[in-house]
Amino acid sequence: MFLQLPFHAAANLQRTVLTLNTVILIAALIVVELVYADAPKEKRAHLKHFYPLFLVLGGLLVYAIYKQVRAS
């Protein structure tokens, strides 16, 4: 009835997720740069639909940086 996620976020899992999150964000930026850099504005219009996802992933990147700074 109530959600029970099938994992416990252990420290090693958190590290892996935050690293992979950074990788996927960099990959997305590369794709956007390669495919859409020279495209006209109307062909780039649909990219705005991806903003919510990338906003949350960007938030995770900021959290990863915060954790890194706090650890050092």
């Binding site: 009835m1 109530f2 959600l3 029970q4 996620l5 099938p6 994992f7 416990h8 976020a9 252990a10 090693n12 899992l13 958190q14 892996t16 997720v17 935050l18 992979l20 999150n21 990788v23 996927i24 990959a27 997305a28 794709v31 495919v35 649909h46 705005k48 639909h49 991806f50 903003y51 919510p52 996802l53 906003l55 949350v56 992933l57 995770l60 959290y63 990863a64």
Partner: protein, 288 residues
């Protein structure tokens, strides 16, 4: 006489036509023109897209259950797969983006510290709500949301939803009361408030976004099945198959309600009442 009546009917028809044409023109003037998809998809492509999206939702969840570290990689791979689908197919773009909410939410849940099950569920549903609201905003930026088909008999259907929710809650209690209660130590009123918020988040995502956008690509019944499948996978848990079986039942009922009425108030009411009834029965007979 008959000719006069005919003439009148024709003139009334013409007037109605003219006024509706005016309305259409007004509406067209107020709304930006919606771009039509370049080409319609074949049945096999639609089936492939539906299977692709279901796999991208199911595989990470099941892999996380089997081995969490592999599940993390599967979640990221599923997210990448959905983003690629969204970039490549114009018709499947919105469905792929809303389906990607689940892997992104899993990534957030995996990254943040979780002291107990209630905060884990709270983080999960907060992220879902945040993403759903943002997606709804970006999707409806150039076009108003479709109005509900339910115009009359609202107050007749809403009590029916309460009854359906209570029946589902009682069935859920019968099936799940022997499984461990995960929110021990959290005050029941807080869980009750949480249950209503969880119901809102679930309905906005599974019915309001996934089912709605899937029904623009595949047949609405297939879209309902897809939404029910996605809803079930979230409830796959360790130890027992009962939560997933019950989620399949309740997900099918809620998706069917949405298929017939396209109204989130109704499905949210049924879902919230279901959760509250289960909690009430549990608090009365088990947690005393």
């Amino acid at each position: 006489m008959a000719t006069t009546v005919k003439k009148r009917t024709t003139s009334t028809k013409a007037k109605t036509k003219a006024s509706s044409a005016k309305k259409v023109t007004k509406r067209q003037a107020s709304k930006p023109v919606r771009r039509q998809p370049k080409k319609s998809l074949t049945y096999s492509t639609k089936a492939w897209i539906a299977a692709y999206v279901v796999a991208a939702i199911v595989v990470p969840q099941v892999t996380l259950l089997w081995r969490p570290l592999v599940g993390v990689y599967a979640t990221v791979a599923a997210l990448a797969a959905l983003l690629i689908l969204a970039l490549r197919s114009e018709q499947a773009r919105r469905l792929a983006i809303v389906a990607a909410i689940l892997p992104v939410t899993l990534l957030v849940s995996l990254s943040l510290p979780q002291p107990d099950a209630f905060s884990q569920a709270g983080e999960f549903y907060s992220t879902v709500l945040l993403l759903v609201i943002m997606c709804n905003y970006t999707f409806s930026f150039h076009e108003p949301l479709d109005l509900s088909v339910l115009r009359k008999q609202y107050w007749l259907v809403l009590p029916l939803m309460v009854v359906i929710g209570e029946v589902l809650g009682a069935l859920g209690y019968g099936a799940l009361h022997s499984t461990a209660y995960i929110f021990h130590g959290v005050p029941t009123y807080l869980v009750a408030i949480g249950a209503v918020i969880f119901a809102v988040a679930e309905e906005l995502l599974f019915r309001g976004l996934i089912q709605q956008h899937a029904s623009k690509i595949v047949h609405p019944m297939v879209a309902a099945a897809l939404a029910a499948a996605a809803y079930t996978t979230v409830y796959v848990a360790h130890g027992t198959i009962l939560p997933a079986v019950f989620a399949l039942l309740s997900g099918t009922v809620l998706s069917t309600i949405y298929y017939f009425k396209q109204n989130l108030v109704l499905t949210t009411t049924a879902n919230a009442v279901m959760k509250l009834s289960y909690l009430g029965l549990l608090a009365t007979f088990v947690l005393r």
